[in-house]
């Protein structure tokens, strides 16, 4: 029962952002009642292992949970799982839930995340076509990854590539179809793309670039057994994984008339245009102080930073979100760590040895370090994080000179 004397803060969504917010609020001893409503059946959990060690069967389900569920209970936080919020009524500050009940809120936090982008081509609803977003998706995919089977992955982004690495290790025959001219094109430069291409190819993955999928073929049971490409080519398949990005989950916010622009628009304090509603994580497009523009990010770092910012805002502390984005990915023995956004660079500097699988690419714009991608080179990542944060200008000669210690640059 909700205590009538207290205000009620409702969090919609139960992902990484929501879970981090719950923890931040309990650590700050937030005085109000907190209720989280999530359509998933699990307490908040981390998704990165879903394409990494959980897919490989190296960790169990419980280890995915951000916290043991009892923690929330002990702190008096209420988790309503398996319940969807259908509508936000801003007039009387209430929510309509999928179990037909109504929930009043004083403050509302949208943490609705994102959903996978679907590929709408001929045959896209055949059996055997997978997407990866939640625990159940990984469970379903893992069951089918049997040695000798042919897995075709549509999309050469980091999730597709992580699955390719994991499935190959398990003896599955993997083909990756990427429509662009290089892997992970959206987030990294050509050096990393080419390095990963070589890595996957030498592990036995058939990587095809410039390969646009226009349809799926079916056997007489209605199961997918092949993929058709725009150039007329065909690839046989027993299993297909489509991994072509995500779309922010903004329907609730849009229907409630909140300002949205490919993401719920929030400021650096995670506030929407309604003073009683905050939004955090993948579902937002935030005013990024660091880049001084509106930015949408899909990463754990963004979800947790915004969650902590929201906790501060709810506690009436002014603590803006102002840190450069960062990200990681594991494929085979490759540990990739990335910081900043490299899109607008005008110069790239290589440090270390690609051959030895230990190197970093520094991305410069007008002489400033704006991003770093590090392969098995944590020091370069950590130094890069500082350089990007401080908007340092460092010359290419210095960055590439192995006789100058990276640590001396900060």
């Amino acid at each position: 029962m909700i205590n009538k004397n207290k205000e009620v803060t409702v969090i919609i969504g139960g992902g990484h952002a929501a879970g981090t917010l719950l923890t931040a609020l309990l650590q700050k001893k937030y005085p109000h009642k907190v209720v989280m409503v999530s359509e998933e059946l699990h307490p908040p959990y981390q998704r990165p292992p879903l394409s990494k060690n959980y897919l490989a069967g190296e960790v169990d389900k419980a280890s995915l949970y951000l916290k043991p569920p009892s923690i929330y209970e002990k702190a008096g936080q209420e988790l309503q799982l398996g319940v969807r919020v259908e509508k936000i009524n801003r007039d009387d500050k209430s929510l309509i839930l999928s179990d037909q009940s109504t929930l009043k809120y004083d403050q509302l936090v949208l943490a609705t995340g994102s959903h996978v982008r679907r590929l709408n081509v001929r045959g896209s609803d055949l059996k055997g076509i997978h997407y990866l977003h939640g625990i159940e998706d990984t469970d379903a995919l893992r069951r089918e990854l049997v040695p000798g089977k042919r897995l075709v992955i549509v999309g050469g982004g980091y999730i597709g590539l992580e699955v390719a690495a994991s499935a190959t290790k398990q003896g599955v025959k993997v083909t990756v179809l990427e429509a662009a001219e290089r892997l992970m094109q959206r987030v990294t430069g050509p050096e990393i793309s080419e390095f990963l291409y070589a890595k996957h190819t030498s592990a036995g993955v058939d990587v095809r670039l410039g390969a646009a999928v226009i349809g799926f073929e079916s056997d007489d049971q209605g199961c997918v057994n092949g993929v058709t490409l725009a150039d007329g080519g065909k690839v046989s398949a027993d299993i297909v994984l489509v991994s072509i990005g995500v779309i922010p989950e903004t329907a609730l916010a849009e229907n409630a008339g909140l300002l949205c622009d490919d993401g719920v628009v929030v400021d650096e304090f995670t506030r929407t245009d309604d003073p009683d509603i905050l939004a955090i994580g993948d579902c937002t497009r935030h005013h990024n102080l660091f880049f001084d523009k509106r930015q949408r990010l899909e990463s754990v770092a963004n979800a947790v930073e915004q969650a902590r910012t929201a906790a501060a805002t709810l506690m009436s502390e002014e603590k803006p979100y102002d840190s450069p984005p960062w990200f990681w990915s594991n494929q085979y023995d490759v540990r990739l760590q990335m910081v900043g956004l490299s899109q607008n660079h005008d110069q790239r500097v290589l440090r270390g040895s690609i051959l030895d699988k230990e190197f970093a690419v520094f991305y410069l714009c007008l002489g400033h370090v704006i991003a770093v991608d590090a392969v098995n080179f944590p020091v370069a990542f950590m130094v890069g994080k500082q350089l990007v944060k401080l908007r340092k200008s460092v010359s290419a000669e210095v960055l590439s000179n192995p006789n100058i210690e990276l640590k001396s640059l900060i």
Binding site: T23, L26, Q27, Q46, P48, P49, K52, S63, L66, K67, P68, I71, A75, V300, A301, V304, W326, W328, N330, R335, Q337, N376, F377, P378, V379, M382, V383, K385, K407
Partner: protein
């Protein structure tokens, strides 16, 4: 089952129960110990699980790995007995261990 004691920078103590096999980061996170975020979930990728093991227990925590060493070398609060909590798997021998938390994480 055993006990690990986490001591925050401001001396607040958190006495936690653990099952051997869990990492120090996981134990701290499961008990909502402030100051240990573990943002990357234990992938040795974020550096938000830095801890300083008390001298007499350090040996028992095993070897510092190469990636871990590189990450640790970048923290200003690095001490001789620093570890990334996610890289330390607990054993029975760690029952009663005390671990100091730094003022800031990386």
């Amino acid at each position: 089952m055993g006990k690990i004691i986490f001591i925050e920078h401001d001396s607040t103590e958190h006495v936690t129960q653990f099952d051997e096999g869990a990492t120090l980061m996981q134990i701290a996170v499961d008990n909502a110990v402030p100051g240990i975020d573990g943002d990357c979930g234990g992938e040795c990728a974020c550096g938000t699980c830095h801890m300083i093991v008390s001298d007499e227990w350090f040996e028992k925590t095993g070897k510092v790995g190469d990636a871990e060493e590189q990450m640790l070398s970048m923290t200003p609060e690095r001490a001789r007995t620093s570890r990334l909590g996610c890289q330390v798997q607990t054993t029975k021998a760690m029952d009663g261990m005390t671990v100091q938390l730094p003022e800031f994480q990386m």
